[in-house]
Subunit: 205 residues, 2 copies
């Protein structure tokens, strides 16, 4: 099984310092409001979470039942994504769903949940997962994923547009890997990890 | 070099039959207006083009200079994407850009173009590309991409949510490949093709 974790992702409701209200923060809409906030340049990026989930949930790996997906946020919440969950393709509707999730802790509100959210730190999640922990970071070593993977792996990918992890990911890492000289967006790292693990598990004949 | 072609993609301005105006058709907004149109259930999907381009343009393969990306539309236009083009992450802004491109034939309007559009059929484009042509389709054979690739390949992926190609892609195909039993979204096929070609070209050490 591969556990795929988007860590320190910039997904949050609008902080009360800016405006009372329970609206999902989106830097493309709230840019001028955000300027007083700590770390404002990296915050409010549900678009990164969206593209990441579209890749993870629709992947062959997920369809084969070998993927578990989690989104950890800067406020130390963990979103557990049901493998059956198909992500809404329309960005504006996706944001509505994530807003509901952050307010109510699960979606849909009735029936079995497709996503649920818990107040939980990244290290608490990692402690529960029995797998080799691989962190993707530009500070890591260049190694081929084929040489690093085991049957049970947890891949930890930063869910922010620039800068470093907020969580102390290095402490929990069995390996820190760099895929390329240049900074890669979270979804590209996810796609490389997923297809490499599909190859490792010999899903491609 | 890999040439990656999103074919018969559902990208168009609102047809005059519905409403005069030069607005990009988006089924998530114009659903009720579209019901009279031919093929209305599959049309108006700039979201698929967006996710496809976010994967292609940010990929390691593109950063290494080994990818050329094209978007062919149902109205037989070809969009030539400059390898330097970084795709706007915000969906609403991306739609604004594509609308400008479909109206004016290039973006940005001033200076060197990052995307330009020509009235051209898929077979006219394929005739110009000297490479092995691989079409991805559920009607194809299951084969490992490693066994099919050559140094110059053109991968043709359907840019529509369901149904079949409109263009006669089978005529131009050297191989027709099926990656999985289930229908896969266009961006998942793109990610599989890109990473497989990165492996084929030994970009991963």
């Amino acid at each position: 099984m591969m556990h795929l974790i988007l860590a320190d992702s910039e997904l949050e409701l609008m902080p009360e310092e800016i405006k009372k209200g329970r609206i999902l923060l989106d830097s493309s809409l709230h840019h001028s409001l955000m300027k007083g906030l700590k770390d404002w340049k990296r915050r409010g990026r549900p678009d990164i979470v969206h593209i990441f989930l579209l890749i993870a949930q629709e992947s062959i790996l997920n369809k084969e039942g070998l993927l578990r997906t989690y989104v950890h946020t800067r406020n130390n919440e963990i979103i557990y994504v049901n493998p059956e969950m198909r992500i809404i393709k329309n960005y504006n509707r996706f944001k509505g769903l994530m807003q509901q999730l952050l307010i109510h802790g699960k979606v849909p509100l009735k029936g079995g949940s497709l996503m649920k959210m818990k107040k939980e730190r990244l290290d608490e999640l990692l402690n529960k997962i029995k797998a080799k922990k691989i962190v993707f970071s530009r500070k890591g070593k260049r190694k081929a994923l084929q040489d690093v993977f085991e049957e049970n792996v947890a891949c930890i990918i930063g869910g922010f547009p620039s800068g470093n992890f907020i969580s102390s990911v290095e402490k929990y890492a069995d390996e820190i890997i760099r895929l390329h000289e240049e900074m890669l967006p979270a979804w590209i790292v996810a796609m490389e990890a997923i297809v490499a693990y599909e190859n490792f598990m010999k899903l491609h004949l």
